[in-house]
């Protein structure tokens, strides 16, 4: 690889543009590929397979070739509603995974910078806050306040935008009431059942870091099912 190409890669990484480094392992030639853009003749014939590596979020050698593909895939947006104690642990776990977290909490005393250093915190009600975050079916929502005033609008937004993961904290009873409210708001059973509630996989733990771990484990698992 040329030093100039390395610099180009570093620049792309800094601006968080999705790309892949495509390398011919036989002759050492490599190229930077951005999805949707074209490649040189040598690599263009493998375009479909390269795009497939993006889809599978994987790196690897294209079958029966000597072409290696390393993808740089933007982190998945995870929106946490409720700057509560569990959220502090979620932020820690997410740091080492490919998740980019935003926290929404209209209660200023919860969502303080001191409690969440270096974190994007939006001190607004969900309806207003979501105007500042671009979301789609590749986004995830973790609702932690179990206060219908705050959680419900966020859940409705996530359902409308077809988030691939929606989880809501609360007991079975809390969740039943939540489902009932969503039903009354016009959401169908399939939509409502897509919400993971009570949130998290069964670990047995009840402390804040344990609950955070069970949530993040479920999120990782659902991300691979995507």
């Amino acid at each position: 690889m040329k030093h100039s190409q390395l610099k180009e890669i570093i620049k792309k990484k800094a601006s968080k543009i999705e790309f892949a480094i495509v390398t011919n392992l036989e002759n050492g030639l490599s190229e930077i590929y951005e999805p949707g853009k074209s490649l040189s003749k040598e690599f263009e014939i493998h375009k479909e397979q390269i795009d497939n590596f993006f889809k599978l979020k994987k790196n690897g050698v294209i079958e029966s070739t000597e072409i290696f593909v390393e993808t740089y895939i933007r982190p998945i947006k995870v929106i946490i509603v409720g700057a509560v104690h569990i959220a502090q642990y979620l932020v820690d776990f997410a740091k080492s995974l490919n998740f980019e977290i935003s926290i929404i909490d209209p209660r200023g005393y919860f969502a303080s910078e001191q409690r969440f250093p270096d974190m994007k915190i939006i001190n607004k009600w969900p309806d207003e806050a979501f105007k500042e975050i671009e979301t789609n079916e590749n986004s995830a929502l973790i609702a932690l306040t179990h206060d219908p005033k705050i959680d419900d609008p966020a859940l409705q937004h996530a359902l409308n935008k077809k988030f691939y993961y929606i989880g809501a904290l609360g007991s079975k009873k809390t969740h039943e009431n939540r489902c009932q409210r969503l039903k009354e708001a016009g959401f169908d059973n399939e939509q409502i059942n897509s919400i993971h509630g009570p949130i998290g996989i069964k670990l047995g733990g009840r402390s804040a870091p344990e609950i955070a771990l069970s949530i993040i484990a479920q999120l990782v698992s659902e991300t691979y099912k995507k």
Binding site: H3, L25, G28, F68
Partner: protein, 109 residues
């Protein structure tokens, strides 16, 4: 599901190059069975054998460093090396975990 954007090994390679060092980039390109680091894991090695990053759990790094130094000495552009399960009765480099990995070495110039 690593966050490639946050890994800083390529930035480190750039710093080393700016300090006029010769650099080989080693990348895990294929794995079979259980292996400690996933495809895309990287380490960099300079002509003196200093290295940063990893391609296994410490099992084959020393061999990779030797190969990288040779690549610089022979002034070759790139090379592939494969590491298989170690034979415990022999003093050879291998993966104690029972996996196999293939590592691609390339000079940056």
């Amino acid at each position: 599901m690593k966050n490639s954007f946050d890994e800083k090994i390529l930035e480190e390679a750039n710093d080393w190059l700016n300090a006029n060092q010769k650099i080989v980039l080693a990348t895990v390109i294929q794995t079979w069975g259980s292996s400690p680091r996933q495809v895309g894991s990287r380490m960099i090695v300079n002509e003196k054998g200093d290295f940063s990053g990893s391609v296994s759990g410490g099992c084959v790094e020393s061999a990779v460093v030797r190969e990288c130094i040779d690549l610089i000495k022979d002034n070759k552009l790139c090379k592939k090396i494969e590491f298989k399960v170690s034979n415990e009765s022999a003093w050879e480099v291998g993966l104690a975990c029972g996996g196999e990995i293939e590592v691609y070495l390339e000079q940056i110039n």
